[in-house]
């Protein structure tokens, strides 16, 4: 390989066919005299602009598009040399760091010698060692192209905002499961908004047996094994549900607050009593109608109950998880859109309450397709206010444009699977921890189950990994009509 050009932080390196450099590979451009080296990542592989190639190709097709047939008597065997030159490639590389005295710096301001520099591949283990991507809480993400393992540190997810994105069936949910079980293994509390009911079986192996995490997985299905008694509810949480999920207007909300307080003071805070109170409310007819319709929405959700025995205490699960680590899976699969929002409002409100009162230290929240249940104002809340309370969110989506731009800008880690759509790539490339060229070029060519890991977990050295397999029961499979026929 030979250094050809440097423009800004882009290097162009001439590579010959036997050198086998591919997108995602890291190269070390070492200038021995300067005592420094550049670490660059291949983000695109192009044909080198070899003079005469066009003529070479054209003259093989002079006869109406069909290759002219013939024989080449090439006694000196020049043909392999022609092929060798023709197949030379130009590696477009992004400079990631400068290595000097075993120390890395993000600088790309110096110019290595074009004639004297040596260029060699930098193995991922060596890169990780140089970048000090190591820690006491390892999570093995998977294998890299050079058959080494990519291990990140669980603490690099702590206090961070993460995004897992990629098109359908590329392995996003699989990676989020891997992260979850790894975090649980380190006694972390994980809450999952499970839109498709595919995380409930995290405690089972592929063949249906209990695995080591079984006792730590708490699957809660709203209106089934997850109900809330009004008595357990804090007024703020209820108001949040009414205002944000059920869009209760301000005047009506004030009236509801008064009614709620009155019932609470009299020890009559039940669904039945609340319904009666709203019916007997002496106020504007519109206000009463508004409150009445919201009341019926709460009742019809099936999520609320008057029976304390029936009520599943989220708080209990959270406390249990606090001690041993665990995952609370909120199964939203069979829940309607409105009910989903009610449940999410409740859970988030409860989490904030628990974290504010230090009943919980911190929570890792995994939110799948969050746009389907997260209200507008929560996006900013999650990256600012809630992070300070100790809610560290991972968004999982196959529609990157549904995640707000501010989330991308503040994301600390991005786990990017394949995207082919330009628009999707555009959206993801807005993330501040990644350069648009890398995203566009590498993500487009990622095979299924391969993930481009970006951000703090890899010390800003984007690395492509084949996500390792997990012995977990799969629940997210698409139901197929022709499955048995084929």
């Amino acid at each position: 390989m030979k250094l050809y050009k440097k423009e800004g932080n882009i290097l162009q390196i001439l590579s010959f066919p036997n050198e086998n450099a591919e997108k995602g590979d890291y190269l070390l451009v070492e200038d021995a005299e300067a005592g420094k080296a550049l670490i660059a990542q291949v983000i695109d592989v192009q044909f080198a602009s070899i003079p005469g190639v066009l003529e070479e190709l054209l003259r093989t097709l002079p006869d109406g598009g069909e290759p002219i047939q013939g024989e080449d008597i090439d006694p000196l065997e020049i043909a392999p040399h022609i092929t060798y030159i023709q197949d030379a490639s130009l590696l477009i590389c992004k400079i990631r760091a400068t290595l000097q005295n075993e120390m890395l710096s993000p600088s790309s301001s110096w110019l290595p010698s074009r004639s004297q520099s040596t260029i060699k591949k930098l193995s991922i283990p060596m890169l990780l060692k140089l970048a000090k991507v190591e820690g006491k809480l390892p999570i093995i993400l998977g294998g890299t192209k050079d058959s080494s393992l990519l291990t990140i540190d669980a603490s690099s997810l702590d206090g961070r905002l993460n995004i897992i994105t990629g098109k359908k069936e590329t392995g996003k949910s699989h990676l989020s499961k891997l992260l979850m079980v790894s975090l649980i293994g380190y006694k972390a509390t994980v809450v999952i908004f499970d839109l498709n009911g595919e995380y409930s079986s995290l405690g089972m192996t592929a063949d249906g047996k209990r695995n080591m995490h079984h006792d730590k997985i708490h699957a809660l299905t709203p209106a089934q094994n997850f109900k809330v008694a009004l008595e357990q509810l804090h007024l703020n949480v209820v108001m949040g549900i009414l205002i944000h999920a059920l869009h209760l207007p301000g005047t009506s909300a004030r009236e509801f607050r008064r009614t709620w307080k009155s019932l609470k003071e009299n020890g009559k805070l039940t669904l039945h009593e609340l319904g009666e109170a709203i019916r007997d409310l002496k106020c504007n007819q519109h206000v009463r109608d508004a409150l009445s319709s919201r009341y019926h929405a709460l009742v019809n959700s099936g999520f609320f109950t008057d029976s304390l025995a029936e009520a599943m205490l989220l708080e209990e699960c959270l406390l249990k998880s606090k001690e041993q680590g665990g995952a609370i899976v909120i199964n939203l699969r069979s829940t309607s859109t409105i009910d989903r929002q009610i449940v999410v409002e409740y859970v988030l409100g409860k989490l904030v309450d628990s974290l504010t009162s230090w009943k919980l230290k911190a929570v890792f929240l995994f939110a799948e397709e969050a746009h389907l249940y997260l209200r507008e104002t929560y996006w900013d809340d999650i990256v600012t206010r809630m992070r300070h309370f100790g809610i560290f969110t991972t968004f999982i989506t196959n529609q990157p444009d549904t995640v707000r731009e501010s989330i991308y800008r503040q994301a600390d880690n991005i786990f990017l699977f394949n995207f082919t759509n330009e628009h999707d790539l555009d959206v993801v490339s807005r993330a501040s921890r990644v350069d648009a060229e890398t995203v566009r070029s590498i993500a487009r060519d990622l095979p299924p189950h391969h993930c481009l890991t970006l951000g703090k977990v890899v010390r800003d050295f984007p690395i492509v990994t084949r996500v390792r397999a997990l012995d977990l029961k799969t629940m997210g499979e698409t139901r197929l009509f022709f499955k048995d026929i084929n």
Binding site: I50, P51, G52, V53, E55, E56, R59, P62, D63, I68, Q69, G70, E71, D72, I73, D74, P75, L76, I78, H81, I82, Y84, I85, Q86
Partner: protein, 358 residues
């Protein structure tokens, strides 16, 4: 001791093959390898610009052009058309000489299909010391099997590329003349003989072999310097429907240069281009017309130039990519260090130095 290298002949020719003499290409390969071995300790310098050498016409006198066209009626009777061309290029310099490459191509059209055979490239390191040996060895390889003629002295170093290419070209032409029967043989250039490149007996031999096999030799010149009344003969086209020929008379060269063909201007299609066409003088007018009519009826034309000959030219021409590959070969196989010699024009005159060629 020079090793013997086997050159396979052109087994894919689908017309009758007599015993083909392969002595010349064998000697080409031997001399090529031998000359490259001699260059080993030397540094190899890249050219600033590559030159592909072509030969040019000499100026004759008393030329007349008959502007009455001889109309042609394309004859679609299936006829083999074969064309030959060679090319040479200087690919670098050493402290003692030059490194050149030579390649030849024959293209033939039969059953509406074009096929080709390319021979080479042969790479030579030519120095003042070895030029005589290289040239004479190749000459001898050619002459010993033909007529015994005292070999000429080796040309000037800078003329060696064209002279060696001419040797290969004449050999290919001879082979085609011997193998093609009832066909048309298209040559690049004219039927002028008696020059250093083309001794009279060699051209006569080619024409003789072709006539013997009932083939006709047609030589097309891409460019001509022949003028009548101050105008190029190819620019004086009448307003007649092509295809047609215009006849010239009175063309004489100073001895020892002689013309073995009669010169025509050929306009073969509606494209407003015409070419100098030399046809074997020993053929009758009707044979000549039949040959050109068969050409018009059997070959494709791009801008009035036969496709078979165009392909031969395209296939033997060296591309920049091939030059790089040959430089790579020389470096890898013969360990010659490539260094860039500064362009003195650029060095001395900066942006005003345009290099040696332009």
């Amino acid at each position: 001791m020079i090793e013997q290298y086997t050159i396979t002949t052109t087994p894919k020719y689908n017309f009758p093959q007599p015993t083909i003499d392969t002595a010349l290409p064998q000697r080409f390969l031997e001399q090529s390898l031998h000359s490259l071995k001699q260059v080993q300790p030397n540094a190899f310098q890249l050219n600033q610009q590559f030159q592909q050498f072509r030969t040019f016409e000499q100026h004759p006198s008393n030329l007349q052009l008959n502007r009455t066209p001889i109309p042609l009626k394309p004859n679609h009777q299936e006829t083999i058309i074969a064309a030959i061309d060679t090319s040479t290029i200087k690919i670098g310099e050493t402290s003692t000489g030059i490194i050149i490459a030579i390649r030849g191509a024959t293209v033939w059209k039969q059953n509406r299909t074009y096929r080709y055979t390319r021979l080479g490239p042969f790479i030579f390191h030519i120095t003042e010391e070895n030029k005589n040996q290289v040239y004479n060895t190749l000459e001898r390889a050619y002459f010993t099997t033909r007529c015994e003629t005292p070999h000429q002295s080796a040309p000037h170093l800078m003329q060696m590329p064209t002279r060696l290419a001419s040797l290969l070209e004449r050999w290919l032409q001879t082979m085609i003349a011997k193998t093609v029967t009832n066909g048309l043989i298209l040559l690049d250039g004219s039927l002028t003989a008696g020059t250093f490149d083309t001794p009279v007996h060699r051209m006569r031999e080619i024409l003789y072999q072709a006539r013997k096999n009932r083939s006709t030799v047609l030589a097309f010149s891409k460019m001509t310097t022949l003028r009548v009344n101050g105008y190029l003969i190819t620019d004086q086209l009448p307003n007649s429907e092509p295809p047609y020929l215009l006849e010239t008379t009175g063309l004489r060269y100073k001895p020892p240069t002689i013309l073995l063909g009669d010169v025509y201007v050929a306009r073969l299609n509606k494209a407003n281009y015409a070419f100098r066409l030399d046809i074997d003088r020993e053929t009758t007018l009707s044979q000549r017309l039949e040959a050109v009519e068969k050409l018009a009826g059997n070959d494709l034309y791009t801008q009035s130039y036969p496709e078979t000959l165009r392909l031969a030219h395209i296939l033997c021409t060296f591309t920049a990519n091939e030059v790089l590959a040959m430089q790579h070969f020389i470096t890898r196989k013969h360990g010659i260090q490539i260094i860039n010699r500064p362009d003195m024009h650029r060095l001395l005159f900066g942006p005003f130095g345009k290099g040696e060629i332009s």
